[in-house]
Each structure stands twice: as structure tokens, then as C-alpha cells.
């Protein structure tokens, strides 16, 4: 693992904080897209060249950096919404919790029984911190679009962990997982569109008709 890869991983960590600390949805979408592109570039730096690798790199960049952001931005435009209002967990507390989780991720990763060639790498702490940030966004925000972004951050965290096992993941599986993710976001985009039409808002706390008495 070279130092460029490490720097990109640090950038991934910083992007988590950008998403945690902002109320502007379009900015969050772009940040997650940049993270997706980084995720696509990283395997190219870590593993030796092969056609299999090239295919994965191109498809990750295309899907996570291109198609998914376009789908979400379209949903934002249709719903005519720019900002997240009064989240369940405020921005400052989100940032503090994010910092806490990130430091815990580093402590935790140092104790994990990693394979010797993976010890001391930033991959595992970055993956854990991104995953936790994703959870935080997913649970702390009201708007359906923010929740989708949280889900994407989570997926990015899982993909980061996947860097350690590029050999174990055949191309079919990686491509299939990406395709599932893409279709998932597509379906979510449609549902968001219908939520905003039905409720004239995409505030998920209004989705409460089905609560158990």
C-alpha cells in the first residue's frame, strides 16, 4: 500500500465529516459521489494491473461517481428540496459523534486480528468509520434523500473493506453487487418522487400512519 492510497483514504474520512456537517443536500450528494470515485481509484493503486481490475475500477467510478449521483440529483430537483431541516441529531452533535466513532474505529482496528500484510493500513479504520457515519446519517436525518445518502455511505464503508479481498470477489459478484446497488437507488429515487407527490414533502417523520397503537 503506498502513501497516495493512504492520502485518498484520509480524504474518504474527511468526506464523511463533510456529509455529517452539512444541511445542503446537493453538496452531500456530490461529496458522496467524490467518495465513490475515490473508492473506484483505490483498487487500482493497491492491486497489480489486470483486466478484471480495470473493469471493476471503471464500473465503480461510472456507477458511484456518475449514475447514482445523477439519479439522486434528479430526485432532489423533482421534489424541489434543497436542505435538510431540523434533523433528529443536529449537525454539531453529528460531527462530535462522527469524530468519536472515527477515533473508536482506529482503536478498534488496531486490536483486530488482521492478516500480517494488512496490519497498520488505513483501510480497516476508514471502512469502519465510514460505515458508522453512514448509520449516523441514516438514523439522524428526516428527509428521505438524506437517508438514501446514509445508506450509500454505509455501502461505501463496506466496499472499502472489500479492498482487502479483491481476489476473493470474482468479477461477476462485484458487478452484480454494483448493479443491485444501482437498481436499489433507482427504485428509491422513484419512491421518493411518489412520497413528495403524496405528502407534498419528503419528510419521513410524516410517514406515521402505520404505527402500532
Amino acid at each position: 500500500m503506498n502513501s497516495l492510497a493512504d492520502q485518498l483514504l484520509v480524504l474518504c474520512l474527511l468526506i464523511n465529516f463533510a456529509v455529517l456537517g452539512t444541511s445542503r443536500l446537493a453538496f452531500s450528494v456530490r461529496s458522496v459521489a467524490v467518495q465513490g470515485v475515490l473508492l473506484g481509484v483505490l483498487p487500482a493503486l493497491v492491486h497489480p494491473f489486470s483486466w478484471h481490475l480495470a473493469f471493476i475500477v471503471v464500473s465503480i467510478i461510472l456507477v458511484k461517481g456518475g449514475l447514482i449521483p445523477v439519479l439522486i440529483i434528479r430526485a432532489i430537483k423533482k421534489a424541489e428540496i434543497e436542505r435538510e431541516f431540523s434533523p433528529f441529531i443536529g449537525y454539531i452533535p453529528s460531527l462530535v459523534l462522527g469524530a468519536l466513532f472515527t477515533s473508536l474505529a482506529f482503536i478498534f482496528a488496531a486490536k483486530l486480528p488482521l492478516a500480517p500484510e494488512h496490519e497498520g493500513l488505513l483501510v480497516v479504520p476508514a471502512a469502519a468509520a465510514t460505515l458508522m457515519s453512514g448509520f449516523l446519517v441514516l438514523m439522524g436525518r428526516r428527509k428521505a434523500i438524506s437517508q438514501v445518502l446514509g445508506y450509500l455511505l454505509m455501502e461505501n464503508g463496506i466496499f472499502l473493506f472489500g479492498l482487502l479481498l479483491a481476489d476473493a470477489m470474482p468479477v461477476m459478484v462485484e458487478a452484480g453487487a454494483l448493479l443491485d446497488l444501482l437498481v436499489g437507488i433507482f427504485v428509491m429515487g422513484i419512491v421518493i418522487n411518489h412520497i413528495s407527490r403524496e405528502f407534498s414533502s419528503i419528510d419521513t417523520s410524516r410517514l406515521s400512519a402505520l404505527r402500532e397503537e
Partner: protein, 477 residues
């Protein structure tokens, strides 16, 4: 031949997309599903060898799930023709196409022997169900769809992380890096224990939330309550079995490793907790479709308890998987009919269904008796075998709790079902178009017949199949 199971429904889906007419489009469903059933029968009679690389293989567990799904889907597609005839005003192109894509994905789950491929297929089933739950296009159904999508997507993402951990445990243990099931089972004991342990927990949470084990079941009442009866039947009878199959694959690896006993204990507790949740929420339920969702939570709990008990209970658990999915089919289809006839699913308005819709009312009643474990229906046999296995193993606490929850659930469910079926028909009810007719009554009637027959006689091939499947899970062959 194997690929036909996956490709044929996809072709059918493309065909439904091309048919312009709402009425004729529905007929594609039974044609494709009957062909699928025929292929399934041929493959079960004589399964081909594993595909090169070993990714695709139909073993006894896969056969069971495939057979259950194919039968259920065929019946549901026959029902769909009658059901969609009542709802011609609503475009059904998306519904028909999604149903067939879902059939294709569930078949892929049953035949895949590579955990990565299995995961992809399972995620695909999750996604294709979303438009189906949203078929009614109202505020309540969109809320249900959103909850379902979000919870299941996150759950299945956690399962993916679990798979990564499993793959990583092979790296740390310096074994061949793979997610092929047979290799993993062979090497299970040598995997790195820490990562393997973490993998099992993440996979259990991930697949458990897709199955709807308590306390990960929160999406279930909403999705089952708002989806059309036909879709509810497929969710509760088909998708549950797919998620269960994924869990069974993990179970196979767990029992082959040193952690089998611990994994079984966790399953036992989760199963009992699910039954307890169901018993509590089933009581005083005023929406009879939501009640069925809790019944589904109960029955995945029962199957999980059987897995937790191991040994002789495995045979019974697998039998219960089939019985549950067939009986759930009758429950959801007949309750969909009642829902249409009253245009409501609240017990406040829906009373005396036996008078308004005699066939559906009677079927609903019979299926209620079946699912709560009354003889002579099939679930009685499997539940009885599970209880006797619990006591036979000296696990009296489990046996006693199991019986207690079954009794509570019977009372809770009866207090909703009896008034719905037998109560006084309320006056000044809204007039509706739906009355029982052949196309919407005979499909659940077929299923009910199978449930009754399986209750008194299990055909020899099925018995052999169940024994083979139980043997794969480490039970007595």
C-alpha cells in the same frame, strides 16, 4: 436446464412489458409459471451435476425451497388472472413484470452455491418486491414501501459485510480465498475463529432482518398489511424461504465449524423471542392483514427454534418451512378476497365474511385452524414433531415456552379471525363489486387441499428429500 429456471421468467417479464393490453397481459403469468413448475419437477427428479466452477448446484435444500416457491408462485399466478380482472383500471405492467423477475431471482437463490451470487439474487428479490408492495399507489402503501426498502436494504448490506468477514477469515487462516459453499464447509473448522464469529453474527442479523425475525421484523406488518393479498402470499411464503435458505447456508458452515453449538443457541433464543413478540402483538389486532404479518413472525420463529434444537427437529423444521409457505398462501389469498368484498381490512367493519364471501370465509377459517397447528392439517404434524423433539432432547424449558406461545397465539388470532368470519354482518355496509367467483377461489382451494393432504400423508419422494436436506444440516439422515 438449470439456467432455464432463471432465464424463462426473465423472458416472460420482457413479454409482459410488450403486451399492451391489461387483461391479456395477466395471462402471461400462469403460462410462464406452469412452464417453470414443469422444469422444476424435471430438475428435482434428476438434478444435473454442478456447473463448471461449482457456482450452480441444486442440492436437497435448494430443491425444497425451489419446489415450495414454484408451487406457490403457480397458484398465485392463477389467482393473479382473476384478481387483476377486478382491477383493470390500474395499470398492471409493472406488477406482472416484477412478479416474474422476482420468480427468476428466487430460483437463482435456490440454485446458487456461491455465497456472493446468493447474496446478489437475494438483494434482487428485495428490490423487485418494492414496486409490488406499492401496487395500490396510496399514502399508506408508500410508507410501507419506504420502510421495507430501507430496513431490508440496510439489513442485506450488513449481510454483505458478514460475507466479507467470512472471506477475510479465509485470508487470515491462509486458506484458498473463496466464497464457494462446499469449500467453506470443508474448511470451516480451520477458518480464523474471530472473523468467522463476527461473520456469523453479521449474517444472522442481515438475513434475519430479511426473514423478519424479532426484533428485526418492524417492516413486516406494514409491508404485509399494505401489499395486495397476492403479493403478501409471495412475501410470506416465498421470500421468507429464500432468506431462510441463505441462513441455512450459513448454518451449514456453522455446524461444520467448532461454533455450531453456540450458533444453535443464538437461533433458539431468537426463535423464541420472535414467537413471544408475535404472541404479544397478535392480541387485539384490529387489522386482519397486519395480524397475518405477526403470524409470519411467529412461524419464522418456529422454524428458527427447530434449527436451534438441531438433530431430529431439523426434519420437522424443514417440513414446517413448506407447510408454512403453503398455508400462508391460503391465508393471504382468501384474506385478499375478503378485503375486496368489504373494501376494508379493519375488524370493525369486516364481520360475517362467511355470509358475504362463503368460500373465502371458509378458506380463511380453515387456514387459520391450520396455521395455529390444529389437526388434521400439515402444520400440526411439523409443530408436533418440533415439540416432541424439544422434550425428547430434555430441553423442557424450550418445549414448555413453545407450547405456551402457541396457545397464546391461538387465542390472540382466534379473537380476530372468529368475528371476521362468523360475526354478524354490520348493517349499512358499503356496496362492493367483489363476490366469490371461481378464478379467485380455486387457487387457494388447491393450496388448502395440499395442506390437508400433507397433514395426513407425506409422499415418499418428499420424505426422502426432507431427510436428505436435514442430513445436509447435520441432522440424522
Amino acid at each position: 436446464m438449470m439456467w432455464a429456471l432463471v432465464l424463462l421468467p426473465l423472458l416472460g417479464a420482457a413479454l409482459t412489458w410488450l403486451v399492451p393490453d391489461n387483461r391479456r397481459r395477466a395471462w402471461v403469468l400462469p403460462v410462464v409459471s406452469l412452464a417453470h413448475l414443469a422444469i422444476t419437477a424435471a430438475l428435482i427428479a434428476e438434478a444435473p451435476a454442478a456447473s463448471p466452477g461449482g457456482w450452480i448446484l441444486l442440492d436437497a435444500l435448494g430443491k425444497l425451497v425451489l419446489a415450495g416457491n414454484s408451487v406457490l408462485f403457480t397458484v398465485c399466478s392463477l389467482y393473479a388472472v382473476g384478481y387483476l380482472a377486478y382491477r383493470l383500471k390500474r395499470p398492471n405492467r409493472v406488477l406482472c413484470a416484477s412478479l416474474l423477475v422476482c420468480l427468476s431471482a428466487t430460483s437463482l437463490v435456490a440454485i446458487s452455491h456461491h455465497l456472493g451470487l446468493l447474496w446478489i439474487a437475494l438483494e434482487a428479490t428485495t428490490l423487485t418486491m418494492a414496486p409490488l408492495i406499492y401496487f395500490n399507489h396510496n399514502a399508506r402503501s408508500i410508507e410501507a414501501t419506504w420502510k421495507y426498502l430501507l430496513i431490508c436494504s440496510v439489513g442485506i448490506a450488513i449481510a454483505l459485510l458478514g460475507l466479507f468477514f467470512l472471506a477475510y477469515s479465509t485470508i487470515v487462516a491462509r486458506q484458498e480465498v473463496t466464497l464457494l459453499l462446499p469449500t467453506l464447509i470443508n474448511n470451516a473448522a480451520g477458518l480464523h475463529p474471530g472473523w468467522r464469529h463476527a461473520a456469523f453474527i453479521f449474517l444472522l442479523v442481515g438475513f434475519g432482518s430479511k426473514m423478519g425475525l424479532a426484533p428485526l421484523h418492524t417492516w413486516k406488518p406494514d409491508a404485509y398489511g399494505e401489499a395486495p393479498g397476492l403479493v403478501g402470499a409471495l412475501l410470506a411464503g416465498g421470500l421468507v424461504n429464500c432468506a431462510l435458505l441463505a441462513l441455512l447456508r450459513v448454518y451449514q458452515i456453522a455446524v461444520a465449524s467448532t461454533e455450531g453449538a453456540l450458533f444453535q443457541e443464538v437461533l433458539l433464543v431468537m426463535g423464541l423471542v420472535s414467537m413471544a413478540f408475535a404472541a404479544v402483538f397478535m392480541a387485539r389486532q384490529s387489522d386482519f392483514k397486519r395480524m397475518l404479518a405477526y403470524s409470519s413472525v411467529e412461524h419464522v420463529g418456529i422454524i428458527t427454534v427447530a434449527l436451534g434444537l438441531g438433530h431430529g427437529a431439523l426434519f420437522a423444521g424443514l417440513l414446517h418451512m413448506i407447510n408454512n409457505s403453503l398455508t400462508k398462501g391460503v391465508l393471504f389469498l382468501s384474506c385478499g378476497n375478503i378485503h375486496r368484498a368489504y373494501n376494508s381490512k379493519s375488524t370493525q367493519f369486516v364481520r360475517g365474511a362467511i355470509r358475504r364471501t362463503p368460500w373465502s370465509g371458509a378458506l380463511f377459517m380453515a387456514a387459520f385452524l391450520a396455521i395455529t397447528g390444529s389437526p388434521p392439517f400439515a402444520p400440526f404434524v411439523s409443530e408436533f414433531l418440533i415439540v416432541s423433539s424439544a422434550f425428547g432432547q430434555g430441553n423442557h424449558v424450550t418445549g414448555a415456552l413453545f407450547l405456551l406461545f402457541l396457545a397464546l397465539i391461538f387465542i390472540g388470532m382466534a379473537s380476530t379471525v372468529l368475528p371476521v368470519v362468523l360475526g354478524e354482518v354490520p348493517k349499512d355496509l358499503e356496496r362492493t363489486r367483489y363476490r366469490d367467483a371461481f378464478p379467485t377461489v380455486f387457487p387457494p382451494l388447491i393450496l388448502m387441499g395440499i395442506v390437508l393432504v400433507l397433514g395426513v400423508w407425506i409422499p415418499e419422494p418428499l420424505r426422502v428429500l426432507l431427510h436428505d436436506a436435514a442430513a445436509l444440516l447435520g441432522g440424522e439422515a
